[in-house]
């Protein structure tokens, strides 16, 4: 499955991977807000942001081409609105939508590709996000691959039994798909109960503990200061030049 790639990237060992998740998330928020509120001198500013993100990806030794094309996932949706903007003669807005949505996705990807998701969620928890929601998200991510594989197996089995053939009426095939989904639902439900029993047997108290004790070091602080100052200074300089 394709997102296993992201999992592999996030387990790297570059200086960027070693930074605390909190520092990276605050830097991400600054990047996103600076980008979202930018209007004057947007092309130059986006070029600068793009260069910074590419630099960060290279520094983290993440294959640049693959990352850039992964972030392009937002473009089909964006393209529709960009074309509409162009058709109504609003070139500036069309270009802004494309630039902002692509660069925002790239910024998020840069952080997620250098931070394993459990570390990211733990960072969010330390910043005060509700634990219940984070624990649900953690479980969701853990069992995403398991349940997805089960769905794929079921699909393959159904195809092997001839569900892809056009012989059956559409209503029959529709009902068969609904039945498959219901079975998947029941299996997932049962699996959740088994997981919970197994966790209770290991002393689960309603909270997941990690082994790593992430500390906010001086290096993290330096990184945070640099990563938040860079986009802001760039924007100040560009907008001063434009004004």
């Amino acid at each position: 499955m394709h997102h296993i790639v992201l999992e592999r990237w996030s387990r790297g060992a570059s200086p960027l991977h070693r930074r605390d998740a909190r520092a990276k998330m605050v830097a991400l928020a600054v990047f996103l807000v600076a980008l979202a509120t930018a209007w004057r001198a947007l092309p130059a500013f986006s070029l600068g942001i793009f260069a910074m993100l590419c630099g960060a990806l290279l520094w983290a030794r993440i294959p640049l081409g693959a990352a850039l094309s992964r972030a392009a996932i937002v473009l089909p949706f964006t393209a529709v609105f960009a074309v509409i903007s162009l058709a109504t003669g609003d070139y500036q807005r069309g270009a802004a939508i494309v630039l902002k949505s692509y660069l925002s996705a790239l910024a998020v990807l840069t952080v997620v590709a250098t931070t394993p998701l459990p570390a990211l969620l733990r960072g969010l928890e330390r910043m005060g996000a509700p634990l219940f929601l984070l624990t649900v998200a953690q479980f969701l991510y853990r069992y995403l691959f398991v349940i997805s594989e089960e769905a794929q197996h079921m699909r393959k089995a159904a195809l092997a039994r001839g569900s892809g053939r056009r012989m059956a009426a559409r209503a029959v095939r529709f009902r068969a798909a609904a039945g498959a989904l219901a079975v998947l639902f029941a299996r997932s439900y049962g699996r959740a109960q088994e997981i919970h029993r197994a966790m209770l047997a290991r002393g689960f108290s309603g909270h997941l503990h990690g082994l790593s004790t992430a500390r906010f070091t001086a290096a993290d602080a330096v990184f945070l200061a640099a990563a938040t100052a860079a986009p802001l200074l760039l924007r100040l300089a560009l907008e001063k030049a434009a004004a």
Binding site: A36, L133, S148, A186, Y189, M199
Partner: protein, 303 residues
């Protein structure tokens, strides 16, 4: 239907982020009520199920197929609050891991799909989930969940000034109606299949009745309808409409009380003040959420 970053204007995404935090917090507290920690793995695994369910295709017409969105199905089986939490977790994972939907726009997506979509999907089941109208109610729930999320997303884009011509707006609302009908049909088919497997999976509609949730669901429906009407009345964007009516100047001063037009006045220079104001706003929002959370926790402990 996941709105990426870069589409919504700053007041819109900021306001919806601020609105989403207490909404999800409230849903999480309701989902935890009568707390039983077996709910945590259950909600997580059911979220994974919704992800995986998108791999099973339903034949629709010539060569096309659709898949489940899941809000209404989860609401009928896990209850509206738990369904909301699961959908919110799904949207978060989608925004982070799959770059599907923006991070700043996460609040908007959560409000559209996880809060309003789920509640609108639950409302018919809640009201007519028993007796002769049961199947129609489940179908209507599926339709409404998709329609409400779609209409809300459209009106948010319009308020942000993204130009959507009348034809495109009509087309997208039509698409929402078609995919809503599909969602309704899938939800009905899966619920009836589930009931033959194990009747206990589907909730009793009157279980855990709540006035607050009902009101919120009605408000969501109303908001979506008004948004759709408003959008069709102003196909070239809300700004245009407000200019025509002449409330633009008034509305501007109304919106901009804390940070005049998102430019901190104390930084008299024009450049860069926007970014500083935006960041200060974000920090304020964060602080408010943190304080609110602490306060709630303390109240709960003392109660």
């Amino acid at each position: 239907m996941h709105i990426p970053d870069g589409f919504l204007s700053t007041p819109v995404w900021a306001a919806l982020d601020v609105a989403a935090v207490p909404a999800v917090g409230y849903m999480a507290r309701r989902a935890q009520r009568g707390f039983d920690d077996s709910r945590i793995p259950l909600l997580g695994v059911m979220g994974a199920f919704v992800f995986a369910a998108q791999m099973i295709n339903f034949p629709v017409g010539i060569g096309t197929s659709g898949h489940l969105v899941g809000g209404a199905l989860l609401a009928c089986t896990l209850g509206p609050a738990a369904a909301s939490v699961v959908m919110a977790a799904i949207l978060g994972i989608q925004a982070l891991v799959f770059q599907d939907g923006g991070v700043l726009a996460l609040g908007a997506n959560v409000i559209n799909m996880a809060v309003m979509g789920v509640l609108a999907g639950y409302l018919p089941f809640h009201l007519w989930g028993e007796g002769a109208w049961r199947k129609s109610a489940i179908f209507a729930g599926g339709v409404l969940s998709v329609l409400v999320s779609g209409a809300l997303a459209c009106s948010e884009l319009l308020i942000s000034g993204v130009p959507i011509p009348g034809a495109a707006l009509g087309l997208s609302l039509g698409l929402f109606a078609v995919s809503g009908a599909l969602e309704g049909a899938i939800t009905v088919a899966v619920v009836s299949a589930l009931e033959t497997i194990q009747p206990g999976f589907v909730r009793k509609p009157r279980e855990g009745r709540s006035f607050a949730l009902g009101t919120l669901a009605l408000a969501g429906l109303l908001l979506a309808t008004v948004g759709a009407l408003f959008a069709s009345a102003a196909p070239d964007g809300l700004e245009h409409l407000s200019e025509r009516i002449g409330i633009a100047s008034k509305a501007r001063t109304l919106v901009s009380t804390p940070f005049a037009d998102y430019q901190a006045t104390f930084l008299n220079s024009r450049w860069g003040s926007q970014a500083v104001a935006g960041l200060a706003g974000l920090a304020l929002v964060y602080a408010a959420c943190l304080l609110g959370g602490r306060l709630l926790a303390r109240l709960k402990r003392s109660a």
